[in-house]
């Protein structure tokens, strides 16, 4: 059995003796007999570190690691520079708590301040928080943040990630916030319908760019529709795309959110990931989550602290506008180191490569008569194909060849993704594999 208790059984006995306690049960005297456990929990016996490693490796080996991944749908396979993993494994960063004691937490606080600055730069917004749980909860928090006394309807595009829609639904359920879906038209948000749905009770409109189907939305048009109204415009973005594509601010958005996983975080079966959230100066005091600010110490030295805490649960309790304590700090640091290492050029390159590879992939797939693009609009690194054939058979055939194919959307549709990780050779090999499966 592994053990992280330094005191030996002898020392434990001595300590009890010093406390005037004969039996440990006396320390637990407040625990009623009816619930005090006299038998051990039904759990396996503890293991040595040697054994536990073997056991965990056996479990990990039951997963398939695909050598070639053409699936995104909310989790993206990007290149992670070595320095990112090295830095974020430093024991101090890994084991510190939330930086409540600023004087001995300047490292964490400064890293968050730098992260906040980078998120502002990426999105074009004025203010960023220190992170939330993931892209889906960031979107839900943004919707809740827009609630006004008389405006409680959130219009959410049906083209955002379906799991984000589900999350927003849960956050709204049982409260006085209502979510309404804006229908689709040709794989994008139907803007005519959006205009019809707007009324005096609308609090916000949420779109995703690129949307779940990979399509680029006409976000400028949405900005124009909403300009001059009090309705808040929320855009959920892929952060890598912002190395190349227009910022939420350029579209006129009031709140930018998104899934930060592409910025240096591995796929990890869905988490931990990183929700980023940024807004305008005007909405700053409504932003949930931890926020780090710059101030001075008594000697006038630049110092960083957790700030704007009047929003938070530990001060305001049931009246709090923020109920986030633990966030994804180490993931935020990961994103910051990733952006340091990539720089503006590297990020633009990752975005450009992803886009080019996705278009090459689409072109190659459509050489086959069984595949055609489902939508005609512009896309970034994902696109949907209609497939004339048995989707299950195709995907299984690819899996047998070490390839994770597009994500099945039903009705013969597949959502494909390519990033800088997919070499031309790999894409060509995918085509050969598909031909083999089709021929079989």
């Amino acid at each position: 059995m592994g053990n992280y208790v330094p005191n030996t059984p002898g020392e434990q006995q001595e300590m009890l003796k010093e406390l005037g306690v004969n039996d440990i049960r006396e320390l637990f005297r407040a625990v009623p007999d009816q619930v005090y456990l006299n038998t051990p929990l039904k759990l396996a016996k503890g293991l040595s570190e040697f054994e536990v490693k073997r056991r965990m490796k056996q479990i990990a080996a039951k997963n398939t690691v695909f050598s070639s991944i053409f699936r995104g749908a909310g989790a993206y396979h990007h290149y992670i520079p070595s320095i990112v993993t090295q830095i974020t494994s430093k024991e101090e960063f890994v084991t510190a708590y939330t930086p409540y004691q600023a004087e001995i937490s300047q490292g964490i606080l400064q890293s968050i301040f730098e992260y906040q600055t980078m998120i502002c730069e990426l999105t074009g917004m004025d203010v960023s928080n220190a992170s939330v749980y993931d892209g889906a909860t960031a979107a839900a928090e943004a919707v809740i943040m827009c609630k006004e006394r008389k405006q409680r309807k959130a219009l959410v595009s049906a083209a955002i990630h379906p799991q984000t829609i589900e999350t927003i639904r849960t956050y709204c359920m049982g409260t006085d916030m209502e979510m309404l879906l804006i229908p689709l038209k040709d794989g994008r948000t139907d803007l005519e319908k959006l205009e019809e749905m707007l009324d005096s009770e609308t609090s916000c409109v949420l779109l995703q760019q690129p949307n779940f189907f990979g399509q680029l939305e006409d976000c400028d048009a949405v900005g124009e529709i909403l300009s001059g109204t009090e309705i808040k415009y929320i855009l959920s973005c892929n952060p890598i795309s912002l190395g190349l594509l227009k910022t939420p601010a350029e579209y006129g958005a009031h709140i930018a959110v998104g899934e930060g996983q592409p910025l240096g975080l591995p796929l990890s079966f869905g988490g931990p990931y990183l929700g980023f959230m940024a807004t305008t100066e005007k909405l700053m005091r409504r932003l949930p989550g931890r926020i780090v600010g710059e101030t001075k110490d008594h000697k006038g030295e630049r110092t960083f602290v957790l700030t704007l805490q009047a929003r938070e649960q530990h001060i305001r309790r049931e009246k709090a506008s923020s109920n986030i304590c633990s966030n994804q700090a180490l993931c935020a640091m990961t994103a910051a180191v990733y952006l340091d290492a990539m720089g503006q050029k590297g990020l633009a390159q990752a975005a450009q490569l992803s886009m080019s590879k996705a278009h090459y992939l689409a072109e190659r797939l459509c050489e086959l008569k069984e595949f055609s693009l489902a939508y005609e609009g512009d896309f970034f690194n994902e696109f949907v194909t209609d497939y004339q054939g048995d989707v299950d058979k195709l995907l299984t055939g690819l899996e047998e060849r070490g390839i994770l194919g597009g994500y099945p959307l039903g009705a013969g549709q597949l959502l494909w993704c390519a990033t800088e990780m997919n070499t031309r050779e790999e894409i060509d090999a995918l085509l050969e594999a598909i031909k083999e499966v089709l021929g079989a």
Binding site: E26, L37, K53, E92, S111, T117
Partner: protein, 478 residues
């Protein structure tokens, strides 16, 4: 020290990616970013040294004693981190077919089974990413339960005044109104007050037990009975579960819903503020309301199940902070039943021992035996010498210690809440107790000096008022 934006030079950077091997497709003008993107332009050497400097300005559990009450800053075993780095976990896409993720599903299932056994619950779900998120999910379960029974008048959640701020905040966020009830002078739930407020509008009662004073509520069975008889459900905030693993189970005490903090009790590191993991557990009658998908056994393999039509739905994308669960499972497999109990016993021994070392010097409003933590009140010291809990805590920094939680629970004035955890040795406890006494002594003799502390840290006390009044939340490029 400089910000990363103040380092480097125009044109400097790292080369990470190759040239394109396919024809370049550029976005059409309409979608092209116009605004300049100002990211650092630094060499890899500069990045490496920058973060080494930041690391030196960070205090982790590896640096020293970290008795942050109710945060359970125990040692984070390194094997946990190693297991969370296995490519068999990190390189798995969340939307792979079930047959290719059986290992991940096994991690979640095995951890669920173990935590059910520890808590006495019938199911656990890992979607919630942190404690407050787990509370939100748990309260939604309570909401869904009453809705499903058409008992819609149950709109109130009762919370003792000793509770963490997240309890009332989560209740409000889940759509409930909150009733705060006072505690007795011993720090327990006031049964009379509880009896007075329960009724037909009671949706549930939230309790942290052991409570935030570090006391196990001896009336626990009476408390849960009162709430159940009124038709409400009992919610157990597992923030302080580290005191009772293998000793008592919330499920046996009459609780219907619990959330755990894997980043406290189950030794997963806190990452300077996250990622954590706040799984929510419940009794049989609430399972159908848990977030979907659930993981079930079917024909010898594990599979996702999203059938429940009364589920509260998702609280997050995918399945939670999966790699944190990998770490927790590693810990549970390492300790086993016996080790978990030993961990809790030693957490309680250490807290009582430290309380014992301090009790002649300090005012300890709820003298032991305590559970895994205890609270010191510096109210007298403040009155007599003007030395506050903040002054005291800041002075601890000069002795290379992380201070306890300050000004919490709110029901104790000038509170310092000390949670040593089981991974500290008797020598450390003695050393730190001596330091606390020395500081107390200094507070008597030179109280003014304590107002100026800390003096050995890289910065002094920050001007928090200025930070909030005139927020500077990002670097302004020159």
């Amino acid at each position: 020290m400089k910000l990363i934006f103040e380092k480097g030079k125009e044109g400097r950077g790292c080369e990470m990616l190759p040239e394109s091997d396919v024809p370049v497709t550029a976005p059409s003008e309409k979608f092209l970013r116009k605004k300049e993107l100002r990211l650092p332009q630094v060499s890899e050497t500069e990045i490496s040294r920058h973060y080494t400097q930041l690391m030196k300005r960070t205090f982790g559990v590896n640096n020293g004693f970290y008795p942050l009450g109710s945060c359970t800053m125990k040692y984070n075993p390194k094997v946990n981190d190693d297991m969370a780095k296995l490519p068999g976990f990190t390189e798995v896409h969340p939307l792979q077919p079930e047959s290719t993720v059986q290992g991940c599903l096994e991690v979640l299932k095995k951890t669920e089974e173990a935590l059910c056994e520890v808590t006495g619950m019938d199911a656990i779900d890992f979607q919630p990413a942190a404690g407050a998120h787990g509370e939100f999910a748990g309260l939604k379960l309570i909401w869904a339960y009453h809705q499903d029974r058409k008992d819609v008048k149950r709109t109130k959640i009762i919370v003792p005044d000793s509770a963490h701020g997240t309890n009332p905040a989560s209740a409000a966020m889940a759509g409930f109104s909150v009733i705060n009830i006072p505690s007795t002078k011993e720090g327990y739930v006031d049964l009379e007050e509880l009896r007075k407020v329960v009724g037909e509008d009671t949706a549930g009662f939230m309790l942290t037990n052991p409570n935030t004073i570090g006391m196990f509520d001896e009336n626990i069975l009476e408390i849960t009975r009162i709430v159940h008889e009124a038709g409400g459900l009992n919610y157990y905030d597992g923030a302080n579960l580290n005191a009772i693993m293998g000793i008592a189970r919330p499920g046996d005490m009459g609780f219907d819903v619990v959330h755990l903090n894997l980043h406290k009790t189950f030794s997963t590191p806190h990452g300077g503020g996250g990622p954590g993991s706040g799984p929510v557990g419940c009794k049989e009658q609430l399972i159908k309301y848990l977030p979907t998908p659930r993981i079930i056994n079917k024909d010898g393999s594990l599979t996702f199940d999203s059938k429940s039509e009364v589920s509260i739905g998702r609280v997050k994308a995918f399945y939670g902070n999966f790699l944190v669960v990998v770490r927790a499972l590693t810990y549970i497999l390492t300790l086993g039943a016996e080790g978990l109990r030993k961990a809790s016993e030693n957490a309680v021994i250490n807290a009582n021992y430290m309380l014992h070392l301090l009790k002649d010097t300090f005012d300890i409003p709820f003298p032991g035996p305590c559970m895994h933590e205890f609270v010191i009140s510096l109210e007298e010291l403040k009155k007599e010498k003007g030395v506050s809990a903040l002054d005291f805590a800041k002075t601890m920094l000069d002795y290379g210690n992380h201070p306890p939680t300050m000004y919490f629970p709110l029901i104790v004035h000038e509170a310092l809440m000390v949670e040593p955890t089981e991974t500290e040795s008797i020598e450390t406890l003695k050393e730190v107790a001596e330091i606390y006494k020395q500081i107390y002594d200094r507070a008597q003799k030179e109280p003014e000096a304590l107002h100026l502390s800390p003096v050995t840290t890289v910065v002094g006390r920050p001007d928090e008022v200025a930070a909030a009044r005139n927020p500077i939340l990002r670097y302004q490029f020159k």
